[in-house]
């Protein structure tokens, strides 16, 4: 007992090392089951895991042993040996070999990762605060070009431009590009991809940095505004997977979720056929009354669609589809009819009557009378 007390430091350090190993073996928290071709990433992790694990255990236990063995004695004297070049060289060499063994497979897989197979089908992911949109190149296999602004004019008095990304053109498709007409636009955060096809994910962002990440796929890459980034993968099992944003993108970063389904080829094609192309989307847009169009513009410019969708999906705030005149449940359990009075109140003092299931994140907005009127007309139209 006395001996244990004397050597408690060595013993506790030893327990920390051994405990770490036991934790690793028994831990229920391991890599999630993979759903893509990147098993080699998992293999590289394992190689690194073993080399580092062995080094950790050896160094840790040696330290604990040395503390036990060479504990201070009045009569004791340490060994005076400033340097030991042979030992130091050997340790350097062994470490270097370990590093090479870890690095080599890593670089080989990386080479694979950055070179997309030529037969890969393309899908574009568009990130925005705080949701996802997707685009397929359509029959011609070529994405139409996009832009954030149009009609940019420079002059000594400044630069003028018109926004090109609006609720009527959520992808910012550029006018007059024939490749864009057949592009399939998916303006919701649900993506389907086919099994066993090489898929190149091309990514862009409307606003800030995002990162398209499905943990089971292993691959991820940031989406950077002003740039197009990419990665590729091949799905290896069907199922439903969560899409996460892995790069801090503002106050609702954690809400930026989506779903990716890996389908069989037939299911995927059936789904893809049911989606609209850019040409169809444009054709379906009937001209709006001027006041409704103005309301849409107000909503566009004030960023309402960042949180409120028009298609029934809940993003950060409740959807506007069918909102007008509907009965809504508030977070205190009471109900209220979403009439003009309630909606105006929710714009001016948004956090007073919260809809159940939504947080108090909206900032109050003050509109001019004519803007408010237009916005309300637009909301009324959308509900139809």
């Amino acid at each position: 007992m006395r001996k244990i007390l004397d050597h408690h430091v060595a013993i506790l350090l030893g327990i920390v090392v051994v405990g770490s190993v036991i934790f690793n073996v028994w831990s229920p928290w391991q890599f999630t089951e993979i759903a893509s071709n990147w098993e080699f990433i998992d293999f590289t992790v394992k190689v690194t895991w073993w080399i580092c694990g062995v080094a950790f255990v050896l160094l840790g236990l040696f330290m604990a042993w040395a503390i036990w063995r060479y504990k201070y004695h009045e009569s004791g004297e340490s060994h005076y040996e400033p340097e030991h070049p042979v030992l130091e060289s050997w340790l350097t060499i062994i470490t270097s070999i370990g590093v090479v063994i870890m690095l080599a497979p890593g670089l080989i897989v990386w080479d694979d990762y950055v070179q997309v197979p030529p037969d890969a089908m393309e899908v574009e992911v568009l990130g925005e605060q705080w949701t996802w949109k997707f685009r397929f190149p359509g029959e011609d296999g070529i994405f139409g070009t996009t832009s954030v602004k149009k009609n940019v004019e420079r002059g000594p008095d400044g630069t003028t431009f018109e926004p090109n990304i609006t609720s009527l053109n959520p992808f910012g498709m550029r006018d007059g590009d024939p490749h864009g007409e057949d592009d399939i636009l998916i303006a919701s955060n649900v993506l389907h991809v086919p099994l066993d096809r090489n898929i190149k994910v091309v990514m862009r962002s409307k606003d800030v940095l995002h990162d398209f990440w499905v943990p089971e796929i292993r691959a991820k890459m940031d989406m950077v505004p002003g740039m197009i980034t990419y990665f590729w993968f091949r799905p290896t099992r069907t199922g439903e997977f969560e899409i996460l944003c892995a790069e801090l993108c503002g106050r609702s970063h954690h809400n930026m979720r989506g779903t990716m389904y890996i389908d069989t080829q037939e299911d995927f094609e059936a789904w893809l056929d049911s989606q609209v192309t850019w040409a169809e989307m444009k054709a379906g847009q009937v001209p709006e009354e001027p006041i409704v169009a103005k309301g849409r513009q107000v909503a566009d410019q004030n960023g309402c669609f960042a949180c409120h969708s028009l298609d029934g999906t809940s993003v950060v705030g409740p959807t506007w589809q069918g909102l007008w005149g509907r009965e809504v449940v508030l977070d205190d359990g009471s109900t209220v009819i979403a009439d003009e009075a309630y909606i105006v109140e929710s714009i001016v003092e948004p956090n007073v009557k919260l809809v159940e299931g939504f947080g108090s994140v909206m900032t109050p907005y003050a509109f001019e009378d004519d803007e408010m009127e237009a916005l309300l007309r637009f909301l009324q139209e959308t509900a139809k």
Binding site: R154, G155, P156, D157, G158, T159
Partner: protein, 224 residues
Amino acid sequence: MAEAAQTNQGPLTTIVDDWSSDVTTFKAVPWGKAMMWIFLLSDTFIFTSFLVSYMAVRMTQTDAWPYPSEVFSLEAFGTPVPLLLIAIMTFILITSSGTMAMAVNMGYRKRKVAVFWLMFATAMLGLSFVGMQAFEWTKLIGDEGVKAWQNPMGAPQFGSFFFMITGFHGLHVSAGVVYLLLVAIRVLRGKYDNTSFEIVEITGLYWHFVDLVWVFIFAFFYLW
């Protein structure tokens, strides 16, 4: 170099000796001078970061970049002469390095009055540089419509980088002018009579550095 090591008197051996000696690493280098050198090394990294950022943005720019010899031309005797003003400014700054070097030389000989006037001349040349820079800025802003955030001729980054980097350099020159005048007055008043005139040399180091930086700015902004 191997030969030098064998005879124990080559430059490499001297460096090794200096670095392995006690008390000071750089022999006969006063503290202030050593500190100025290290500061300038740090400052070099600031200007390098500015210029590398400028290069990176310019090379990846899709918008048009203005043609420097047109933007920076000056009307002389009825015809536009490209880079006329810049040439004069550069000439002035390099001349000021010359007067500074002469001041340092006089400092070694402890000729106070000569040191004062040479440093004063250096400061005046620096001041005229800053003045011309102000003139160039007003011309660019007023006549050409280039602002830090806009540029009627193309990429707005042209104005952003130009004003930021030349402005930062101009601040260095202005600070240098104040520094020069302060030291010059102190020299004249005899503050350093009983010690050495190393402060003149230290001021000179800073001034030459500011000059050198200008050469790079000149090359990257006006000649590229």
